[in-house]
Every structure is written in structure tokens, then in C-alpha cells.
């Protein structure tokens, strides 16, 4: 099951976080209260040039020691501009973790490779620091997630105090692994964020593949690997986004056979080269993308975009809708209409064909 929804303003209009929470609440039947989460893009305008690290700290009396360990790693490459507990409303959830945030700036000498270094830092903290899990590591964005129902998690994180131009959200119904704070969606690395309904049957293959490039899957659930695949294929390998998505949801061989010579060869090459990056199993995902994505026609995307995609045989639902500058994707049309009753257009995207929404 699981319920997903995302929306973006193509004019970068800022929208308060309680909107997405209302929409997600109407998908709560698709979850079971074992994980809900949100990501807002554009929420930290005052710190927009710094990495905003959101870190779960195991809630023990000595949690300050965990903060020191995280700071030790961070201080190797830059400075923590500010750190504090993420403002929460006490008493809403059982606080298994203390969500902490660090605004972080790399030293000038590292600026050229700061994205790669940030990935390494996240992997190092998640792998080596006991009781610390980085769950958000982008700039001018933040993930807010926990074990709980959509409304509870939104209330806990005081989501109505943030404004963003893109929001993604997820109500979880854990099936293959237990629900915990770090297992809630969205999964994020840099400015990539993924919410997912379904299961990645190929998780083992995908995990081994990304781990051979230095990523470490430490969140005990399959969707984490999807965020790393996007980062690897599109940011690191600079694959045009259309091809990267075709690697993730591959074309059928019989479809490839009917393509023109050039296209056929490209798709054959993608299937052969990126076989271990293919997501097998049922999925519908909504992805917030990192900057610098390259398109087939050579366009380079300066902004973040929103992508909606399902597996190629459509084993999970996804609808897309538009109203003025807003574009929505969701598991159910009703969730979209909950926050935007009158829509200009509603459609069901083709299986395995992405909906990519760019800022104007």
C-alpha cells in the first residue's frame, strides 16, 4: 500500500507545509501509522547556500556525545554555521529520536567537490556514528519524518511554520521491514528526495550495485537505494534524465526491437550497462531532483524538478493533475482535490513514462 503525493509550483511560489499535510492525511488509509514524512524545497531561504543536515539522534541522556561525534566529522571539511534541535511540538509523538539540524559550509578549497564530499560525510555518519542517522542533506530543503500518522508527524514538526515551492509526502504501510523513524519516507541524499509506494524486489542487486560506488544502505528498507541510484546515474554519471529513467524502469525488449536503429542501440546499451540499476518490482515514486540534471536535448536544468514514475507494468497507482502554476502527482485523485478542488487537468501517466515538471 503506502500513499504518496507531491506538488510543485512552476513559478516557485511558496506554499505553507500544512497544505501537503492535509493532502497526505486523506491518504492515511493507505498507511498504518508506522511512518509518515514530508520534504519541503525552498524552506530555508536564510541559509540557502549552506547544506542543511537533518540528523536523528538516539534519544538517550548522552545524546550530546553523538552531536560531538557528528561535528568531528563535519569539522574536517568545513564549518557548522549553526546547529539546533529541529523545533518540535512535544507530546505529539513518542520521541525515539531527537531530530537535530546542522547548517554547514565547506571550506573554499573543497567547493568544487562539495557534493561528493557531502555524500561521503552522510555515508560516514550513518555507517560509523552509533545512534546518528542523517535523513536530509540538501541545500534549502528539509525532510521531516517519524513513526506516526500523517497529521501527527506534521504537527510534531510544526510543518505550518515552513514555506516551500515543492513538497513531497508519504504515508507508510511497512511490509517487508519494521517501521521506524529512519524507515519513513522521503529518502534523501543531497537535493534528491524520493517517496515510494511499492517494493523494490531487486533491492539486493541494486544495493550491491550502489555500494560498489561507495554508497551505504543503512536505513533497513528498500527505498533508500532509489535515492542513491538517482544520484549515481544522473549527477555522478551525468546520464540524460530520460535515459536514466529508462534504466530505472527499462523498456521491454519487444518495444526496443520496434524502435529506430539509433534509439534501439541506445536502449540496448542502457539495459546492458545499467541492468543492476533497474528497479524490479511494483513501484510508484515521486522524486524531487538535484540541480544540474541533463536532458536528452542537451538542456541543463538549473532548478529542482519533480518527477513522477511508475514501474513499466503499472503495479501501483499514480495520477497527475494541474491547476495554474501547480502540478500534482499522487496515489489518489481525491488527495489532490482535498487541497485543490478545481483542477485544470487530471490524467493517468503511462506506466514507466515519467512526468517531469520543471520550474518556468
Amino acid at each position: 500500500m503506502c500513499g504518496i503525493i507531491g506538488f510543485i509550483s512552476r513559478k516557485k511560489r511558496l506554499i505553507r507545509g500544512d497544505k501537503i499535510a492535509i493532502a497526505l492525511d486523506s491518504l492515511k488509509e493507505r498507511g498504518n501509522g508506522q511512518g509518515s514524512g514530508y520534504v519541503g524545497y525552498g524552506i530555508y531561504p536564510d541559509y540557502k547556500d549552506y547544506y542543511a543536515l537533518h540528523v536523528f539522534l538516539k534519544n538517550t541522556p548522552t545524546y550530546h556525545k553523538i552531536i560531538d561525534k557528528v561535528k568531528n566529522i563535519l569539522s574536517k571539511y568545513g564549518v557548522v554555521v549553526k546547529d539546533e534541535e529541529i523545533p518540535v511540538k512535544e507530546g505529539v509523538l513518542k520521541k525515539e529520536f531527537i531530530p537535530w539540524r546542522f547548517f554547514y559550509d565547506f571550506h573554499d578549497s573543497y567547493k568544487d567537490i562539495e557534493n561528493d564530499l557531502m555524500v561521503n560525510i552522510v555515508m560516514e555518519i550513518n555507517d560509523k556514528v552509533n545512534g546518528a542517522f542523517v535523513f536530509s542533506s540538501g541545500k534549502n530543503l528539509g525532510v521531516f519524518k517519524a513513526t506516526g500518522w500523517p497529521k501527527e508527524v506534521a504537527e510534531f514538526y510544526r510543518l505550518d511554520e515552513y514555506e516551500g515551492y515543492m513538497w513531497l509526502a508519504h504515508a507508510r504501510y511497512p511490509t517487508n521491514t519494521r517501521g521506524w523513524w529512519g524507515g519513513a519516507h522521503p529518502f534523501n541524499i543531497l537535493n534528491w528526495s524520493v517517496v515510494h509506494n511499492g517494493e523494490i524486489t531487486s533491492y539486493g542487486t541494486n544495493k550491491r550495485y550502489v555500494e560498489s560506488f561507495g554508497y551505504k544502505c543503512r536505513m533497513f528498507t528498500d527505498t533508500e537505494v532509489v535515492a542513491y541510484i538517482f544520484d549515481l546515474l544522473i549527477r555522478k554519471h551525468k546520464l540524460p534524465v530520460e535515459y536514466a529513467l529508462s534504466a530505472i524502469a527499462p523498456k521491454f525488449w519487444d518495444e526496443i526491437e520496434r524502435m529506430d536503429e539509433e534509439e534501439r542501440r541506445i536502449h540496448e546499451a542502457i539495459r546492458m550497462t545499467y541492468g543492476p540499476a533497474a528497479l524490479n518490482g511494483p513501484f510508484a515514486i515521486v522524486v524531487g531532483t538535484h540541480e544540474g540534471m541533463i536532458f536528452m536535448n542537451g538542456d541543463i536544468e538549473k532548478n529542482n524538478t519533480m518527477i513522477g514514475l511508475t514501474d513499466r507494468i503499472k503495479l501501483r497507482p499514480l495520477v497527475a493533475a494541474e491547476k495554474d502554476d501547480l502540478v500534482f502527482v499522487s496515489s489518489e485523485e481525491a488527495a489532490i482535490r482535498r487541497i485543490c478542488p478545481e483542477l485544470d487537468k487530471v490524467e493517468m501517466p503511462d506506466a514507466g513514462s515519467p512526468v517531469i515538471v520543471r520550474i518556468e
Binding site: 507494468i313 503499472k314 497507482p317 485523485e333 482535490r337 493517468m348 506506466a351
Partner: protein, 261 residues
């Protein structure tokens, strides 16, 4: 609110349990009820489930949630809006008329009754429809269907008219894997379908005048519900259709027993 013939329920912000309990309460208290009007419906699941009452009409304004009319036997549901997944799931008898689009698995496992969808339907519509004696389910789609139409179909009829909101032709259909695993019933699609668009066990059969007679009544019914004019009706009746049916009587008869005689 007792012994009424018509009851209006405002479903605004109502949980699906509350709404469905209310519908059943109305049915219990009003034995002569003919019509229930549901306003401001938004995502509430299971509306009309299991209701057995032939002379009842349920009008829905908004977007009902999944499994609309599941196990229903008799009533007519009219939806002024789109529906989510599986309207008519395992319905036994009655009608669902959708003035909009149906979600994935529209008509899932229907065993009787009729569904008319004005616009499009999602993936796997008509999956596992089945027929038995006088039980003959029919799914009529005004626009187009996504892939896996009539998957594992065992009986009944699916009719795809392939027209847009104005009644204009939508052109050649895009769907793939049509009738995957079909072993009974028939699918009629207006216009041409290529062999490669078919799933395993499905085959293109000759569309005969007998077939045209079979679908004519459902086209007329469709045009009637959605106010389509005579010209469009005539066009739909006299168009060429592709008939898709099982490749043989028992396409999977030897799936597990190929070595047996």
C-alpha cells in the same frame, strides 16, 4: 428521516466508515427509498458495497474512493466525477455509470451487471471478468483503456469506443498486453489493433455482423446515458471493430500438464 423516497447526504469531510454506515442506516429506515444523493464525496471508499436492491439509484457528486459498488447486486450508481481504483469490483448485478474516468482495475472480477465509463479507464480494466449462465458482465469504455485490458478475462464483454469528449475519434489505440491470459469472453475495440498489442492467449477474431448486433444495444445505452447525438451513435454502431478473444477454447489447458495425454 424515515420512509422517504429520496435522501441527500452531505459527505463533506466524512470518513468512509461514517458515510457507509449512514448509507446503510438510510436503507434500513427507508424501505421504499428510490434514490440516495451523495454530495461532496471525496475519496471515500466502498460506497454501495454489497447493497442488494434493484430499484435504488445512488447519485454521487465528486470523486468516490476505491472499490465503488463492490459486491453490489442490483442498484444503479451514477458518478458525476472520476473514480479511483476498482469501481464495480466483483459486482454481481446493477449498473455503474461514470461521467468521467475510471481508475486502475475498473470492473475488477465483475460477475454480472454493467459499467459505463464516459472517458478513459486505467490499467488492467476488466481483469478477471467472468460469466455464468445468465450472468454476463459488460464494461463499456467511451475513451481508451491502458495496458492489460481484460487480463485473465474469463467471460463477459468489454467494449472500447475510442472517442473523446466531443465524440471525435481518438485514433489507433496505444494499449499493450491486451487480453493477457484471456480464456473466455470477448473484447471489442473500435478501430485497428496490432498483433503485438495483444497479450499471451489473446487472438484477433473476425468481427462479424453477429458481433455488431451483440454490441449495438450497449452502444445505444451508452449514447443515451451520456447524451451523444444520433450521428455519433450511428458512427459508433457502424464502425469497424477489432474483436479479441481467447486463441483457443482452453489456452492454458496444458500449462502444467503438457506431458500428460
Amino acid at each position: 428521516m424515515e420512509n422517504e423516497e429520496m435522501v441527500i447526504i452531505d459527505a463533506k469531510d466524512m470518513n468512509y466508515r461514517e458515510l457507509n454506515e449512514k448509507i446503510h442506516e438510510v436503507l434500513n429506515k427507508n424501505p421504499n427509498i428510490k434514490k440516495i444523493v451523495l454530495k461532496n464525496v471525496l475519496g471515500q471508499r466502498y460506497i454501495g458495497n454489497g447493497i442488494q436492491k434493484r430499484d435504488l439509484t445512488i447519485e454521487i457528486y465528486g470523486v468516490p474512493g476505491g472499490d465503488l459498488g463492490m459486491f453490489m447486486s442490483g442498484p444503479t450508481i451514477i458518478v458525476y466525477g472520476n473514480t479511483e481504483h476498482a469501481p464495480g469490483n466483483t459486482m454481481d448485478d446493477g449498473k455503474i455509470i461514470i461521467h468521467g474516468s475510471g481508475g486502475d482495475v475498473t470492473g475488477h472480477s465483475m460477475r454480472g451487471g454493467k459499467i459505463f465509463v464516459r472517458d478513459d479507464v486505467g490499467y488492467r480494466s476488466g481483469i478477471h471478468m467472468k460469466e455464468y449462465k445468465d450472468k454476463f458482465p459488460v464494461l463499456v469504455i467511451g475513451g481508451r483503456a491502458k495496458d492489460f485490458l481484460g487480463e485473465y478475462m474469463a467471460g463477459g464483454m468489454i467494449l472500447v469506443l475510442n472517442i473523446d469528449r466531443e465524440g471525435k475519434d481518438l485514433g489507433k489505440i496505444k494499449g499493450r498486453m491486451i487480453g493477457t491470459g484471456i480464456h473466455g469472453g470477448s473484447i471489442y475495440i473500435r478501430g485497428e489493433v496490432d498483433e503485438f498489442q495483444l497479450g499471451v492467449a489473446a487472438d484477433i477474431k473476425e468481427f462479424t455482423e453477429k458481433d455488431r448486433e451483440k454490441i449495438k444495444g450497449y452502444i445505444e445505452e451508452f449514447c443515451n446515458y451520456f447524451n451523444l447525438n444520433e450521428d455519433i451513435k450511428e458512427k459508433l454502431i457502424n464502425s469497424e471493430y477489432t474483436k479479441i478473444a481467447p486463441v483457443s477454447k482452453r489456452p492454458f489447458g496444458k500449462l502444467y500438464t503438457h506431458d500428460l495425454r
